[in-house]
Symmetry: C2
Subunit: 372 residues, 2 copies
């Protein structure tokens, strides 16, 4: 069962073979604490996004530090997290098709399960499946507040779905999901703020119309690491779905989180550990972490604390490193901040959590590969 384990507990960092996915436990815990403090002080619920880590251990740790539960994106992911002991989970996504709908309803026998909808037929399907399992599913109407992905248009379009949910005996209309995913990644602070202000306005209009129709819209959920302060200050959202803040990544590192102060708010705590495997040519070294060790969809990884070195390109199992001073030796180990944390984590079976140079915990990536 314990396949592909990267290290032993107590192993010094130097002895971990590469590539390996490491968590700096001190930085990770500070990130968790910082967000927990913020949400407590802001009086807003935190429902951390588990698609970032896919780990039941991390989910339970976040919940132990005040989160009300977690989100995930897929039914199979939710199953893996519930199997690992998570008791309150929002599939922050539409769940379509008989197989998935029935699996979701079955899961609600074992945990509190919430889900999003943007289609009336899907409401009928969910209601039937929940009835057949003898459960009540809590359902959010998803609105598209600018991300251009899932969700109905903001405003009046949400009202018939909310009404249909209140009429469905095995479903409970819980509120709306209004997540502006695209805005998380707008580099400029002011532009990002503007995009979220528009999202807040659209969500507010939607809530007003639902309320005017005589329905109660208890939950307004959304927000991510790049924007959570805006939604938290809106007076409208009462639940935040931040995920990446626990790890951060090179892409988030390039975003101006706080008006050009260079303050990234959260620390990089996730690293791909890699070794130099070839340096036969001057000016160039090759490391053993390529496309199968980190995801390049949001750009190349950043090499930690080695000025002069740059990770310039990836092939399947190789990383090209520009090393103009020929500083690297064969076998030298480097820490990479991956370009995008979520799909990088999904490549690994385990996290090795490190503190004071020693492996302290091994956490399985419980929902790795669970994309159904």
């Amino acid at each position: 069962m314990a396949k592909n384990v990267p290290a032993d507990i107590g192993m010094p960092l130097d002895d971990i073979d590469t590539p390996a996915l490491l968590i700096d436990l001190d930085a990770f815990e500070r990130n968790v604490e910082k967000m927990a403090d913020f949400t407590r002080e802001a009086g807003i619920r935190l429902r951390c996004h588990a698609k970032t880590h896919k780990s039941a251990d991390i989910a339970k740790y976040q919940i132990s530090r005040g989160a009300v539960g977690v989100c995930c994106q897929k039914v199979s992911e939710a199953e893996a997290l519930v199997d690992g002991g998570v008791a309150d989970i929002l599939v922050s996504n539409e769940v379509i098709g008989d197989n998935k709908v029935h699996r979701l309803a079955a899961l609600a026998r074992r945990a509190r399960v919430l889900v999003c909808v943007d289609d009336p037929e899907n409401i009928s399907d969910l209601n039937r499946a929940a009835g057949s399992q003898g459960v009540v599913l809590e359902v959010l109407v998803e609105i598209d507040v600018g991300a251009g992905r899932c969700g109905v248009s903001p405003g009046q379009a949400a009202v018939p779905l909310a009404k249909k949910l209140t009429r469905a005996p095995n479903l409970k209309f819980t509120g709306i999901q209004a997540y502006q995913g695209g805005a998380q990644h707008i580099h400029d602070y002011t532009e990002r703020r503007k995009a979220i202000d528009r999202a807040i306005e659209r969500a507010g209009d939607t809530v007003a119309r639902i309320t005017a129709a005589g329905l109660s819209c208890d939950t307004v959920t959304g927000a991510g690491t790049g924007s959570y302060r805006f939604e938290a200050g809106s007076g409208l959202y009462n639940e935040l779905q931040c995920g990446s803040y626990i790890f951060m990544d090179a892409h988030y590192g390039r975003i101006d989180m706080d008006r050009g102060t260079g303050n990234a708010e959260f620390e990089n705590s996730l690293f791909v550990y890699t070794s130099v495997m070839s340096n036969a040519r001057p000016g160039i070294a090759v490391c053993d972490a390529g496309l199968k060790a980190h995801s390049v969809d949001s750009g190349m990884p950043v090499i930690v604390d080695r000025p002069g070195l740059e990770y310039t390109g990836a092939s399947d199992e190789h990383g090209q490193i520009s090393d103009p001073g020929d500083a690297l030796r064969l076998g030298d180990k480097l820490f990479l901040v991956p370009g995008h944390c979520d799909p990088t984590v999904n490549l690994y079976d385990w996290f090795a959590g490190v503190r004071n140079g020693v492996v302290e915990v091994l956490w399985p990536v419980s929902a790795r590969g669970m994309c159904v």
Copy 2:
């Protein structure tokens, strides 16, 4: 043990939940046969690259159709394939560090194992490890014939490494690896041909110098799906390392394989099966296969046999589809040709092999996640 299984044997295609990684078995077998026929007629050995499929079942099938063995890129990958019954394997890469070197030598007790080197100290390490395991490792000197990745410069630089290998009692100097990885992906036929001609010239010069030093250079290995006919016609290479030809992908589909005839030579046999999960807005649909269901490092996937539809963007678990005619309905299933086959396969635990609309085989991706 059987985790994350996507289907049952005998299941109709329509019943497979999504996302799932499918092989069209007829197309796959025709691809395997076509390359086997070519290499037999050309009188050249085929050592298929298993980094493409990471599957012991597929490796053994290729060997049963005439391949002499397989290549892979990592020691852990080689272990998984040998565990699955592969008896002859080249780690077509440098293997650095005590842990990996010893695992490689231990593996040579169970299978024929070959490896590449580009560093003299690494030769000493491999020799010691082989001695401690009582095995002889077969070793190729890797030369950089233009890919700009691993390998010593072509020509004289290879000679001292070859000599050192012949003096190492537990190693056998077997020849050279001269793989022009970058050239596989040059779109233009003539430019690609030129790049490979330069590689062949450099490999030829290297062989001449090794031979002039009184050593026998038995193996010249390299080539990929984008260039194999050139190396095969060189009179120099005697082993081809093609991998992608069994599956193909959208990136290879964009390469002019045969002087603008549009003849891709091999058929797409690998597909990501996906469902429409949201179509709440006109002109756009969202499918359930995003960055965790296929790799976008070489561009977006292509939607099969649905003119007018285009996969335009991926987020973690969503794919954006342009559908100007609003042809798609919720739950509709589509076949995607992934942008890049190798890292896409590495996201899945299983292949479902389909023939005549029914699942005929389930093959584990034996070496999934084996990046050490």
